[in-house]
């Protein structure tokens, strides 16, 4: 998909997270090339001390590559990685003082849990007696006190991942990196671990980069979210920025569900698609093609009535329900408006009218719920 810049929002976001705070982790144009293929392309990113950054993006967009370059397990083809002001891009990984948690846990199978956690402390020449207390503290922190004598294979996936977290944190690294740490866990455990990781991260106030392709994870856990696409940063901003004010069509489409409709800008406050004319904010554009994004859950579906009776939402279109999909907490309607198929989501708990396939309805939405991206879509 082509990136369509939205007027008034730069790729790095209007509201850069922590504009006031100085960056602790700073990526300055890091690039990774595999032969002629550029996996990460001139990436710039600032992360203030103690913040949790979520790196979000589709498979193959370069998230792991970026993380491994920060860790030092991959060399950079260009650019600088600064931690607290020093460029570490050329430092070997074992001298970087960075904690890394792997998707597959990567515990040392021939060592006990305690030995696993103690390893990093041993490498730092910490005294034996201190190691013992710090290992026990770390295991308590991840709610595994007393598990020290077990071997990794005697523990469940979730427990192993917590050991791996304890092992990374016990050395008090300058930065913590997590590469999809929850993707091998089942949905319920993932929810629990999400909360736990976030709590620990905030308690230790450790600067953290969290790679995920799960947008819920990124939006719920992180102080700021970097959305990547094709090796580039498509947007960096707070979860709310990313969701409510996507900088471009890619972000709007990737994060959350979206109706992306091809249309035309008629004036600074008017767009046209299909047979209708709708009120919205075009961010100053007066004409030209545009892609208009409307979130399905911002579309209100009401029983069919005359459109001229004017909707409270300002924008409305008639349609016929094509398909009804029940997803548990929401019902999704595919509504044929004659020229487009509009997706709408309605909470089942709201007690609203349930519509059947074939029924005629009126869809309504507010001007501020239309995101207009000037330029063509394809």
């Amino acid at each position: 998909m082509q990136m369509v810049e939205r007027r008034g929002a730069s790729a790095n976001g209007d509201a850069r997270p922590g504009d006031s705070e100085p960056a602790f982790l700073k990526l300055e144009g890091i690039t990774k090339q595999y032969g002629t293929y550029t996996a990460v392309d001139n990436l710039h990113l600032d992360l203030p001390r103690g913040k949790l950054l979520g790196l979000l993006g589709p498979s193959g967009c370069g998230k792991t590559t970026t993380l491994r370059m920060i860790a030092g397990l991959l060399s950079v083809s260009g650019g600088q990685i600064k931690v607290g002001g020093d460029d570490i891009a050329q430092k070997p990984p074992h001298k970087r003082d960075i904690g890394l948690v792997f998707q597959n846990y990567a515990l040392f199978p021939h060592m006990t849990v305690a030995e696993n956690v103690a390893f990093g402390l041993e490498m730092r020449g910490v005294a034996k007696s201190e190691i013992a207390t710090r290992v026990e503290e770390a295991l308590e922190m991840v709610r595994l006190p007393g598990y020290g004598t077990r071997k990794p294979k005697e523990m469940s996936g979730g427990q192993q991942q917590r050991v791996s977290l304890a092992r990374a944190l016990v050395i008090r690294p300058r930065i913590l990196l997590l590469d999809e740490p929850l993707s091998n866990l089942d949905a319920k455990l993932r929810d629990e671990m999400r909360v736990e990781i976030r709590e620990i991260q905030q308690r230790l106030s450790i600067t953290t980069v969290f790679v995920t392709h799960d947008q819920v994870e990124a939006l719920t856990m992180c102080d700021c979210v970097g959305v990547m696409s094709g090796g580039k940063l498509a947007q960096l901003g707070s979860p709310e920025d990313i969701y409510e004010r996507p900088a471009n069509l890619f972000v709007a489409d990737f994060v959350g569900r979206a109706n992306a409709l091809e249309g035309k800008i008629e004036d600074v406050d008017t767009v046209r698609f299909g047979d209708g004319v709708y009120k919205c904010d075009t961010h100053g554009a007066r004409n030209g093609k545009a892609t208009i994004v409307i979130r399905p859950h911002r579309v209100h579906v009401t029983p069919n009535r005359d459109r001229t009776l004017v909707s409270v939402m300002t924008n409305s279109v008639h349609g016929r329900v094509l398909r009804v999909t029940y997803i548990g907490d929401v019902v999704q309607y595919d509504i044929d408006t004659g020229t487009h198929v509009l997706k709408a989501e309605v909470h089942t708990a709201s007690g609203g009218h349930a519509f059947a396939a074939g029924e005629k309805v009126l869809c309504e939405w507010k001007p501020q719920d239309m995101l207009v991206f000037a330029g063509g879509g394809q």
């Binding site: 397990l73 990984p93 074992h94 040392f108 390893f119």
Partner: protein
């Protein structure tokens, strides 16, 4: 282990053990016979044939040659098989699967076919009845085992485990010493022991390529049994079985055999 260990299963295992170890019940008493011919039970007892065995010059020479060949084969097989296994597990390159199949193909061929093929090639290369020839022939048999075992060992050691150690501050040498080596050691020892035993035991292929100047212990025993039927064969067998058990015992005690052979 899947399922429960039931009584019929125990009986089955017992029968298998009896079948495998049964010959020992005959061979062990026979080796302490003082008779001139193989008779069971022996008429008189003693260590006559053990003494004869150690005094048999051709046999002792063959024993030394076999020892030399087996040691050389073990070292060379590991030297070739280890990097091959590493490359197959850690790198992806075109023809990787084909290479794996090719390297392990000799496992599927009957020894007699291999022996004949090796004979045909070695005649031309003037390798028949030479130390080099025997080592080369045995390597064809043992290297696939090394590659098989070591690829398994490498796949139980994902690169991320070594990387995790690196991120915790371990230098490349420390990673090798504390992580890579201990985790590969069982596979390494298993490959070495298996290579050694296979080479030391190998008779079919060796029969094709040994000559009067250079012969291995199993071939020498084979020749001996063909012409003589005295209890010395039993004494040799007992010595070989004891040596093998000793090796297995040491591995079991130091590493745990079940761990070595795989899960």
């Amino acid at each position: 282990m899947i399922g429960k260990i039931t009584i019929p299963f125990r009986i089955l295992v017992l029968c298998i053990y009896l079948f495998l170890l049964g010959p020992m019940l005959i061979v062990l008493p026979l080796s302490f016979s003082n008779d001139s011919y193989l008779t069971f039970p022996p008429q008189s007892w003693g260590v006559r044939w053990y003494t004869a065995m150690f005094g048999h010059q051709k046999l002792m020479e063959a024993f030394q040659i076999s020892l030399g060949i087996a040691s050389t084969v073990t070292v060379l097989g590991l030297a070739a098989g280890l990097p091959a296994a590493y490359a197959i597990r850690r790198y992806s390159f075109p023809g990787r699967d084909a290479a794996m199949s090719l390297f392990t193909a000799p496992l599927l061929l009957p020894s007699i076919v291999l022996g004949l093929a090796i004979l045909l090639v070695f005649v031309q290369a003037r390798l028949l009845g030479t130390f080099t020839g025997l080592v080369a022939a045995h390597l064809i048999v043992t290297t696939p085992y090394v590659i098989r075992i070591m690829t398994t060992a490498f796949s139980t050691l994902p690169p991320s485990v070594e990387e995790a150690a690196t991120m915790l501050g371990a230098s490349p040498f420390t990673v090798f010493r504390r992580i890579t080596l201990p985790l590969l050691m069982p596979g390494f020892v298993a490959s070495a022991a298996l290579s050694f035993l296979i080479s030391f035991d190998e008779v079919v292929i060796s029969l094709f390529i040994t000559g009067p100047r250079m012969t291995t212990l199993p071939v020498e025993i084979f020749d001996y049994v063909e012409s003589r039927t005295d209890p010395m064969t039993a004494s040799i067998s007992v010595c070989l079985i004891a040596a093998t058990l000793l090796i297995i015992f040491i591995i079991e005690r130091t590493l745990g055999l079940s761990k070595t052979i795989g899960k």
